[in-house]
């Protein structure tokens, strides 16, 4: 019985006219190819993203609903209590203020200097390549090494910066103790590392600007400064948007520099009164020093949403500016 059952469809297939099946199958395969293949080609990215990007994101959201201490066998479900607590947590708001302050102190001068550096590098210089490689060197150096060197330079008693200030007759600054001073010191570390990197991106965009536009402006009698503000800058807009958004995301996640800047080795406190504790540092301390995983997940999600909102604001503001010009 089973044998006949099995053979029956096969024999039916065999009896189909040969000529009719082949183009049909090919046709169908071709249609599938057009429809499905593109998805197959991009699938690896989405599968990997789902595993390493989406899953942690959703799992973090899940964990944030629990009072979850590392090693707990049965964490308690507490709903949105972690978030309620977070919004009333002065240390979190303090850390957010620090983060925004450090971000503004670093990103704004950084982008201005990067554009100016790029403008200088487009000039005919002797050994142009070595200058260009030179500005990328701080980026290539190890961040941890830089952090340790800068923390040494900004030492309150035996640091080089205070030594120089004192020889100039100025009073020394306790870089770790003073909130604003610590933000400036950290911003200097960030700028040291990222300005050259951003300058190279801007430089690439500058060199893509057609020479004819500059020549036309030159014929119209525009000077160097006018050509820079009226030709170069408007055409740099897409690049500047990109650079602004990436440095926003990086700036709001700043972690290594403030961590290494603390006088207490390995500390996540961000100074004795959290003068320079950033949100990421607070998140790290909550999760991996105090092992309060539920609360840390709540911080992570709030930080994520803040970054998304600021990135969107960035996008719309810069888009609006670009649109008006066009």
């Amino acid at each position: 019985m089973t044998v006949t059952d099995k053979t029956a469809p096969e024999s039916r297939a065999m009896t189909r006219p040969h000529a009719a099946t082949r183009p049909g199958l090919r046709d169908r395969l071709a249609r599938w190819d057009v429809k499905v293949s593109p998805y197959l080609y991009v699938a690896p990215f989405f599968i990997v993203f789902a595993i390493v990007g989406m899953f942690p994101l959703l799992y973090t959201a899940y964990v944030s609903l629990f009072s979850w201490k590392a090693g707990d066998d049965n964490p308690d479900f507490i709903g949105l209590d972690n978030f309620k607590e977070l919004f009333a947590d002065t240390q979190f708001w303090h850390a957010l203020e620090n983060t925004v302050s450090i971000f503004l102190l670093s990103s704004v001068p950084q982008l201005i200097i990067a554009v100016l550096l790029a403008a200088v590098l487009t000039l005919r210089l002797r050994g142009a390549t070595s200058w260009r490689v030179g500005i990328l060197l701080p980026y290539a150096a190890s961040l941890v090494a830089l952090g340790i060197i800068f923390a040494n330079l900004f030492g309150p008693r035996y640091g080089l910066v205070n030594g120089v200030l004192q020889t100039l007759g100025l009073s020394p600054v306790d870089w770790q103790a003073n909130r604003f001073a610590s933000h400036i010191a950290i911003a200097i570390m960030v700028n040291w590392r990222w300005t050259g990197y951003n300058a190279l991106i801007v430089l690439a965009a500058m060199q893509a600007i057609p020479k004819e536009l500059h020549e036309a402006a030159l014929i119209d009698g525009a000077g160097t400064v006018r050509r820079f503000t009226h030709v170069t800058l408007p055409l740099l807009k897409p690049t500047l948007i990109f650079v602004t958004i990436t440095s926003t995301i990086g700036g709001l996640q700043i972690f290594t520099e403030p961590k290494l800047f603390d006088a207490m080795p390995g500390s996540n406190n961000g100074g004795s009164t959290h003068q320079f504790q950033t949100v990421t540092l607070y998140l790290y301390q909550t999760a991996f020093e105090n092992f309060n995983l539920g609360y840390a997940s709540a911080i992570a999600w709030v930080l994520f949403l803040i970054i998304v909102v600021i990135a969107l604001i960035n996008y719309f503001v810069t888009g609006r500016l670009a649109g008006r010009r066009r």
Partner: protein, 440 residues
């Protein structure tokens, strides 16, 4: 429950544990592998067993591991060494939470012990599964007792300790007109009051700092109290603990008088401070001698001295334990290895290799230890001196969960803020608020 009731229960449990321990060892010695519930049975003598041992910084076990393998041909040991204690502890807690990845024998630093003790269900009771050679009298009693959880379960075998003595700059004290000979200087370091008073005198005369940082002294003072940040019910004591309040008042008063060099321990500035002679005295656990030698450098050789005195009696700072997590597949073999490594003979070898000061009663009487001297510290008999200090340590203070974090992340920064100009009252409020937040 009254404290008396608790003690009775503990004593009863102790007896029970001891009885169980003896039975267990008898069973495992017969190698027929009878286990108690979830603890896997011991492997046969010819069965091949692979053990992992995780340590941080220097334990001095490099030569001991091949020796153990020679004595036990069926056992192969993989030694995982980590550089720094901080990342090591973090990694350990993560693996403990994940439920896998820990070594069969996992070293734990004293400062992180309270976190482990509050999760004692994830560790084997060494008094049950360990060999009979590892009896309580092997260790100094305070070291042994500190390795037990609230219910008397023994989580770790003690390795080394950090008995506290006082290190000081002979030349700086002499220049300020203070006694500087190791015997003559002892009265200055008798109590915290005499210590801070001498500091006030030194600072008034020279205008220089007496000690490196407030937190270093405050931590020692709190550790000397019968009750620390948390009581045995894991409740925060800060509102009622007069001892801590007094310690805070004394330390911040000394800061106000300019006695602190305001250098955070182990920071770059602190390292420079040794070379710049920024302070005259330093709380000195046994292992600190090596740190001073390295940081102060040959230029300051024999300017530093050490004496067998510490304000407020004695104290301990640092030292480790060897634990056997329940994750281990071979807990009995692991416990045997841990017991062998913490035997007096082996700890003396570790002391000779890396200077880790042993916690075993017999090791402290060994001539190798008692005759050890240090030329950098004027040829002081450091072995004898620290053995003497180790015996002065009182019974261990109960350390509840988060105790280490309160000390490291709340108390020390709060004192640092006072050194940076905040008022003592503001600093205290910071300590209370921070500790409350952590233990909530």
């Amino acid at each position: 429950m009254t404290s008396k009731g608790l003690t009775t229960v503990t004593t009863f449990r102790k007896g029970l544990v001891l009885a169980l321990g003896i039975t267990m060892t008898a069973v495992s010695a017969a190698a027929c592998g009878g286990g108690d519930g979830d603890v896997p049975a011991a492997a046969g003598p010819n069965e091949h067993v692979e053990l992992t041992l995780a340590t941080f910084t220097e334990f001095g076990y490099e030569a001991l591991i091949p020796e153990y393998e020679r004595l036990h041909p069926n056992i192969k040991i993989t030694h995982r060494k980590t550089g720094q204690g901080g990342p090591y502890a973090q990694d350990m807690m993560t693996k403990l939470a994940a439920g896998s990845g820990l070594a069969d024998v996992q070293a734990v630093e004293e400062g992180h012990l309270s976190d482990i003790l509050s999760k004692s269900s994830k560790f084997n009771d060494l008094s049950k599964i360990g060999p009979s050679s590892a009896q309580p009298d092997r260790w100094l009693s305070w070291k042994y007792d500190a390795g037990k959880d609230k219910n008397g379960k023994l989580i770790g075998y003690g390795t080394d300790i950090g008995p506290l003595a006082m290190c000081y700059r002979k030349d700086l004290l002499a220049a300020a007109g203070l006694p500087s000979d190791p015997e003559a200087v002892k009265p200055l370091f008798a109590t915290w009051d005499s210590y801070f008073a001498a500091g006030a005198q030194y600072t008034a005369k020279t205008g220089k700092a007496w000690f490196d940082s407030a937190a270093q002294n405050f931590n020692s003072m709190v550790n000397q109290l019968p009750v620390g940040y948390l009581d045995t019910n894991d409740k925060l004591t800060l509102d009622t603990n007069q001892g801590i309040k007094d310690a805070w008042a004394k330390v911040t008063d000394a800061v106000a008088k300019g006695e602190s060099a305001k250098l955070t321990a182990f920071s770059n500035e602190w390292n420079s401070g040794f070379k710049q002679s920024a302070f005259a005295t330093k709380a000195c656990p046994a292992w600190m001698l090596g740190v001073i030698k390295e940081q102060a450098g040959p230029d300051n050789a024999s300017k530093w001295a050490v004496t067998a005195a510490f304000p407020g009696g004695g104290g301990n700072w640092g030292g480790s334990y060897l634990t056997v997590p329940t994750q281990s597949k071979h807990p009995r073999e692991a416990a045997e290895l841990a017991a062998w490594l913490t035997a007096p003979e082996q700890q003396i070898k570790a002391f000779e290799a890396k200077g880790n000061f042993p916690s075993q009663a017999k090791a402290l009487e060994s001539p190798q230890l008692l005759n050890a001297t240090d030329a950098y510290f004027g040829g002081a008999k450091i072995g004898e001196l620290f053995a003497e200090q180790a015996k002065k340590v009182a019974k261990p203070q109960y350390k509840g969960p988060n105790d280490g974090q309160i000390q490291e992340n709340v108390a020390s920064p709060a004192l640092q803020s006072v050194e940076q100009g905040a008022s003592a009252a503001d600093g205290w409020q910071r300590l209370v608020d921070g500790a409350k937040k952590l233990t909530r």
